[in-house]
């Protein structure tokens, strides 16, 4: 399921609005994932505080969101763009790639919550496809 020209246009257009609330949305997406899918907390057992609003959660939500923001400008070459991050996740972090969809889902929920009028069904469709491709590119180096 690759991105059509329309999908790419949809993603770029909603992302200009997402940029205005990027910190909030990134933080919400990541902290919600930890609450709604508690198994994801197993990867952060070395953090002091995993609750929404904690400094580490906020910072990591930001880090992830900034990277996804950059992916919007690399929709044509996600695999090479995410190559070293994929290497990191595959060999060092060893995050089960089944978890990527949980973060993607929470990102969709956060976008819907903050931008209800802009997150129409056809935009949702394109963003869902985009995030799936980001996840796939991130899993590229796993095996």
């Amino acid at each position: 399921m690759s991105l059509s020209a329309k999908d790419k246009a949809n993603v770029k257009s909603i992302w200009t609005k997402i940029q205005t609330k990027s910190d909030d949305i990134g933080e919400q997406a990541f902290s919600r994932m930890l609450v709604v899918y508690p198994q994801t907390k197993t990867y952060f057992s070395h953090w002091a505080d995993l609750k929404p609003g904690s400094a580490q959660v906020i910072k990591h939500g930001d880090t992830i969101m900034n990277k996804i923001d950059e992916c919007v400008n690399h929709m044509e070459d996600l695999v090479p763009f995410l190559s070293s991050l994929s290497e990191l996740h595959a060999t060092k972090l060893r995050v089960d790639p089944a978890n990527f969809k949980f973060l993607a889902h929470c990102l969709l929920v956060a976008v819907a919550a903050y931008l209800p009028n802009d997150f129409t069904p056809d935009i949702h469709l394109s963003v869902d496809k985009f995030l799936q491709l980001v996840a796939l590119a991130l899993a590229e180096k796993y095996r």
Binding site: R32, V36, P52, A112, A113
Partner: protein, 148 residues
């Protein structure tokens, strides 16, 4: 039997009180048909589903959205026995309607997105989302339980 904490119970019931099935149902169902177009396979009798606009304006889609969403009322009233509440409906979806149960999960995702859009991040906070998704996953599991 599912273990609901008091907080989860109250979050789910509180949330349900803030939602209109007649409003959210059509939105969620239309969104499902648009975002996951293969779900349209079960609705060839519904008329024009050729574009997002057609789907969102289709009265059969709206009606079915309301039917499905109101179907959740029974689960809300029977939080401690959702499994049995949906036994007959599960048989129906399997034997008569032949619906791939993965569709239930996909619709549940769309319902969650529509609820988030309706209520915003402060009301539909992380704990409320957790409770609501747990509720929906119990419903999804109950609906798939009688498949064989």
């Amino acid at each position: 039997m599912v273990d609901w904490t008091d907080a989860e119970r109250s979050a789910i019931l509180g949330l349900w009180g803030k939602l209109s099935a007649d409003e959210i149902g059509p939105q969620a169902f239309a969104r499902c048909l648009i975002v996951f177009p293969w779900t349209q396979r079960y609705f060839s009798s519904f008329g024009n589903l050729s574009t997002p606009a057609a789907i969102m304006g289709n009265p059969n889609v709206a009606k079915h959205g309301r039917t499905v969403m109101h179907g959740l009322d029974k689960a809300i009233q029977n939080l401690d026995d959702i499994k049995n509440t949906y036994a007959a409906l599960s048989v129906k979806h399997s034997e008569k309607l032949h619906v791939d149960p993965d569709n239930f999960r996909v619709l549940a995702e769309c319902i969650t997105v529509c609820v988030a859009a309706k209520l915003g991040p402060a009301v539909f906070n992380a704990d409320t989302q957790e409770a609501f998704q747990k509720f929906l996953s119990v419903v999804v599991s109950a609906l798939g339980r009688q498949y064989h």
